[in-house]
């Protein structure tokens, strides 16, 4: 594997790791918001 190929792989891995971190963070926030919404809806019933 050439240094250029290795650099390309590292660059893509970094990009994918960053996007995955953002997605997982967003998922945590979404699940939290859904839980609060469900609690609110349950209290209003």
């Amino acid at each position: 594997m050439t240094p250029d190929e290795l650099e390309l792989i590292r660059k893509r891995q970094r990009g994918r790791a960053r996007v995955m971190a953002i997605l997982l963070g967003s998922l945590v926030l979404l699940i939290f918001a859904i839980s609060i919404a469900k609690i609110q809806l349950g209290m209003n019933e």
Binding site: E5, L8, I9, R12, G15, R16, L30, I34, A37, L41
Partner: protein, 301 residues
């Protein structure tokens, strides 16, 4: 002995995004959102957002699985050659895993956060698009997009079901509108990219039955589509805003479709302007008519 596939570097995250067909997703998300907003009652904003997110993810997953299965067709069509799989930027297995994972996640999230009815319709729409349209019909029959069109017609039903937990006559008519809109929309496209489809061996109607039949079918399908578009008004399911907009925009659609249905392609150098005009207008038409539905519901409410 098996031959090892060439080892590809990990795909860029943008290629995964491209697998979800973001442009197609906009129309799906919009019709789903309008179906939800037109439904009676109110939805909690977080639950509503989650429902639309699930519709988008489900549509993206179906698009990814479609591209996984059709990589060979995409490779010979000019319009699709630059997609991640035919361009060799992604491993096929990665696309399959992404599509299956995203499908399961979208349906589970819809079921847990919104309701079972919306999740069930979302699951049916993904399976319909992937198994019935992509795997079964597309390569076998010129009626592929007629029956397959149902897959794209589910979002208003899902949106309505997300808000109410059930389906009713209005979302069913919206389903029929998108279902019957699909043939004129896609056949107008197929008329001006006919060579592409022929090269790929996809039995689109202009390739198999010829242009004359396709033009006639565009005209014929426009009639029940127009009925499905306007019917909610006389049935009392919508108000005058929707009725007026639906009547005018559908009349323009019918006029464009009539022009396509009655003309013949010139022997040399036909620019296919009427067909391109119908195709472009058909996209705008759905946006406007669904937008009018929401405005009608919210203003007249």
């Amino acid at each position: 002995m098996t031959i090892a596939a060439p080892l590809l570097p990990p795909a860029d995250w943008r290629d995964f995004l491209a697998l979800t067909k973001p442009r197609v997703m906009t129309l799906v998300v919009f019709t789903g959102l309008c179906g939800m907003l037109a439904a009676p009652g109110t939805v909690h904003p977080v639950i509503g957002f989650t429902a639309i997110l699930c519709i988008a993810l489900g549509a993206g997953a179906a698009g990814a699985l479609n591209q996984w299965y059709e990589a060979d067709i995409d490779a010979v069509m000019r319009r699709t050659q630059r997609r991640p799989l035919p361009a060799g930027r992604m491993d096929r297995q990665a696309a399959l895993h992404f599509g299956v994972g995203l499908s399961a996640f979208s349906v589970l999230l819809m079921g847990l956060a919104v309701n079972i009815a919306a999740a069930a319709i979302l699951l049916v729409s993904i399976l319909f698009y992937v198994l019935v349209y992509t795997v079964w019909l597309k390569r076998r029959t010129p009626q592929n997009i007629v029956i397959g069109g149902a897959a794209g017609a589910f979002p208003p039903l899902i949106g309505w079901a997300a808000a109410t937990g059930q389906v009713a006559l209005l979302p069913f008519l919206l389903f029929m509108l998108v279902f019957l809109w699909t043939p004129p929309h896609f056949w107008a496209l197929a008329l001006f990219v006919k060579i592409d489809y022929a090269n790929a061996g996809v039995p689109m109607l202009p390739v198999v039955a010829g242009e004359r039949v396709t033009r006639t079918q565009i005209g014929l399908y426009t009639i029940p589509m127009a009925l499905a578009a306007v019917l909610p008004w006389p049935l009392g399911l919508t108000g005058a805003i929707y009725g007026g907009v639906a009547t005018v925009t559908t009349a323009i659609f019918a006029a464009l479709a009539f022009r396509v249905a009655t003309r013949t392609t010139a022997a040399d150098g036909d620019s296919m302007k009427p067909e391109k005009a119908l195709f472009k207008y058909s996209i705008l038409y759905l946006f406007v008519i669904f937008g009018a539905l929401v405005v009608d519901r919210w203003v007249l409410a």
